[in-house]
């Protein structure tokens, strides 16, 4: 009995520590002035270093902490914010003058060096920054890259030749020049993207080395400074930076609350627990308007959904076949029944949000005409079986199946939707040139320009041209556009290039995205921009 007692006394504390080690730590939110702060839904950002941030949640946080050189107006044309002027006479040598008075949140003055150091860090390949490619147009970029020694999976890569871009030159504290490798008329537009934010000297522990832990509490030049640090998987809190010289925000601070599931955020915004829900989940779209009234809103977004043909496959090598497939799809039916009009049918190869967009540039090939489609398909000898491969983790099953059903009915072919677990699995198959059939794709722009759609998606070496489309004439026109002397000139070239796409149909444009967002009864003037980012200077708290 003695021994058993002892056993009980050893067992119980064990059980108790298991349970109690977890307890402790209370639920005190500790907000000093709840009326002046707003909460905004984000997902866990991947990074908070500007040159490494390209997810919309990271962009949302950084847009509060940083002020860009240029921003975009209602027509999506760039205008200066932190820059006094961005000018060039030959589109190669760009002079950037900074506005005086901007300071970082630690009091440091924003100078030319803040930009040059940040960009050099971003471009230097061994730093592994996700936005590195943004700097590739600047002279000297090649020397910051390491060449793969055997061209077959990276062995230990050699040190790049240089550590800094030759194209960046400091003139004085508020002026610097950027020399591009080739003329590029829309360089000013590009500067609005996250990758081009400056970094303070305090960010670096040594030249070209970012201090450990800087990412958890980034110091920016924007309207808000970080409060505490990034609480992973929980929230990022920011408060107004009083020495900010730009347009002052109308709130005292914000809490970017990290959600794992869209439905949880939606439940919170329904009960006023969350102020801005940036993405209303698809399953709630049908009831959102009744649930929320005018607190449920839509605004244009840059996303573009399409399916691509693996043009290297014999089955889809003929443009006639590709056109016929496109004509057999009733886009309006799908946007209406499946997306509840939260997306718009696409009949062009670039998004309506960029300058130079034309309605229906795809022409006849994107018009729904089942009879013509079937005749053309049979005449061109299209394959009897079509497969649409998509990633199963993105909620694409419904519309892929609907599209397949349309193809079955309208072309008389056998069509199946094939799900791959993840997008990366899909890409692996495409790269191995396996017969995946049509591939589902999507695109979000980095900066508002036709080039940001045409270049990565359709040029021969485009970064997202996974389907092997290649047309030298098209490449030439896009190239001519980028080096054109003016933006208007460039647009003309881009439009000519787009006309070639309408003839070749390497992809079938399906839908343009919209932001569908909701807000609580406590806030007004909620605007979500093309990058799915809430404008934190416009939002106001209803008193």
């Amino acid at each position: 009995m003695q021994v058993r007692r002892l056993a009980a006394w050893t067992a119980l504390p064990l059980a108790a520590t298991l349970g109690l080690a977890a307890c402790g730590g209370g639920g005190d939110s500790g907000e000093s002035d709840p009326n002046a702060t707003v909460s905004v839904q984000i997902a866990e950002p991947q990074h908070l270093i500007p040159t490494n941030t390209n997810d919309s949640s990271g962009n949302q946080v950084l847009s509060a902490l940083f002020t860009p050189l240029v921003d975009y107006d209602a027509q999506n044309k760039p205008y200066e914010v932190a820059a006094e002027s961005v000018s060039s006479t030959d589109n190669t040598l760009w002079t950037i003058k900074l506005k005086d008075g901007y300071t970082f949140h630690n009091g440091e003055k924003v100078t030319s060096d803040s930009y040059i150091n940040a960009w050099n860090y971003g471009a230097y390949a061994p730093n592994g920054q996700g936005n590195s490619y943004f700097f590739e147009k600047i002279a000297g970029y090649e020397d910051l890259q390491a060449k793969d020694p055997d061209g077959e999976g990276p062995q230990k890569a050699p040190e790049p030749k240089a550590k800094t871009l030759t194209g960046l030159k400091k003139v004085d504290d508020l002026t610097f020049t950027v020399t591009l490798a080739k003329p590029y008329s829309e360089f000013k537009t590009v500067l609005g993207y996250t990758a081009w934010y400056p970094l303070p000297a305090a960010a670096f522990s040594a030249p070209g080395v970012i201090k450990d832990g800087f990412e958890d509490a980034p110091i920016g030049n924007g309207p808000f400074k970080i409060k505490g640090s990034w609480q992973h998987d929980a929230k990022v809190e920011v408060e107004r930076y009083d020495a900010y010289v730009g347009e002052k925000p109308k709130i005292g601070g914000a809490e970017f609350r990290i959600y794992q599931q869209l439905t949880a955020a939606y439940a919170d915004v329904l009960s006023d627990n969350l102020d801005v829900d940036v993405t209303v989940p698809t399953e709630n779209l049908s009831t959102a308007a009744t649930d929320l009234g005018d607190r449920f809103q839509q605004s244009p977004a840059s996303s573009f959904q399409f399916v691509a043909f693996p043009t290297f496959q014999d089955d889809f090598s003929k443009p006639e076949v590709r056109k016929a497939v496109s004509m057999a799809i009733d886009r309006d039916e799908i946007t209406k029944s499946i997306f509840k009009d939260s997306q718009i049918s696409a009949r062009s190869f670039v998004s309506p949000v960029v300058a130079g967009y034309r309605d229906d540039s795809c022409g006849e090939a994107c018009e729904f005409d089942p009879t013509k489609a079937k005749a053309a398909y049979e005449a061109a000898g299209g394959p009897k079986q079509i497969k649409i491969t998509y990633n199963g983790d993105g909620g694409h099953k419904d519309w892929v199946d609907a599209t397949c059903n349309q193809l079955k009915t309208n072309l008389g072919v056998d069509c199946v939707g094939a799900a791959e677990p993840k997008f990366s699995d899909l890409l692996t198959k495409v790269e191995d040139k396996q017969p995946v059939g049509l591939i589902r794709m999507g695109w979000l722009m980095d900066y508002p320009s036709m080039e940001n759609y045409l270049g990565p998606l359709y040029t021969t070496n485009g970064s997202s041209n996974y389907y092997g489309y290649s047309n030298p004439e098209f490449d030439r026109l896009v190239q001519e556009g980028t080096v054109a002397s003016s933006a208007d000139e460039a647009v003309k070239k881009y439009q000519q290039a787009e006309d070639i796409l309408a003839k070749d149909m390497p992809v079938i444009p399906l839908r343009f995205g919209q932001n569908v967002f909701a807000h609580s009864t406590k806030v007004k003037n909620v605007e979500v921009d093309l990058f799915q980012v809430v404008d934190m200077t416009k939002i106001e708290v209803v008193s």
Partner: protein, 312 residues
Amino acid sequence: MFRYIVRRLLQMVLAFFGTTLIVYALMFAGQGDPIQALAGERPVSEAQRAYLTEKFNLDHTGIGGFFYRYFDYIGNLLRGDLGDSLTGRKISDMLAQAWPVTMKLAVIGLLVAIVVGVTSGVIAGLRRGGIFDNATLALTLLVLGVPTIVLAPLAQYFLGVKLPLFPPTAGSDPSLYALLLPGIVLGSLSLATALRLTRTSVAENLRSDYVRTAKAKGMTTRRIVSVHVLRNSLIPVITFLGVELGNLMSGAIITEGVFNIPGVGFNLFRGIRTEDGPLVVGLVSVLVVVFLVSNLVVDILYAVLDPRIRYE
């Protein structure tokens, strides 16, 4: 007794390494392209790929690569370094953040199961065939039939949004009150099973010889039930609840997602999605330890409940 515990602890070390090896192997086998998985649908630049490949030894492929990476991982583990996740965060930090909140949630679930489940089970067992018994049987059947993936959003919608009794989501640093609803949802399945186990066990023990003897000796019903019947009836229930603690924690994936609790379930889900081997192994290892320890505790508690059980 002491030797028994030492032997069990040694077995736990073996089991621990065995499970990490298996989980690591499974993650490795299912691995496609973790760098692309991390980037989602965005193209990965060559520089970034080279950087991550080198950092995580991803160029070591095949069987040799598996052992290279596994021993690299174990080596670091023995030095007390869990390594970095693919997103660059320290896995030890992620574990330290994820475990407490999940533990709290699981303990609430378990307490709900014990308090409500065992109490109702005893009542139902004592009044077998009565209204209470039949009602609880029907109710638990319903709960057992409805999966958490349905139950959690329904509870959130009706008790959080429509009838705002509870906050709809708990968040990262939740109060006990905010964790109550997710805890109840999580514990409801074990509650139902615990109730049914207790009921059957109590009903059976009521007819046993020693209860009859006790009755014959003129003991009060209260004493018979609380000392004789309950003590013996709890053995299967304790076994179930001990194992259930581990299940509750690993089963929190859905509940944590619905109620926005950044615990183990969510991290596990994300780790699997982004093919983050070390993160998954780290989370699972702690889960294994919880299972092992709770099983040990259960085994030791047997002896307390039933004097006939002895350990060598």
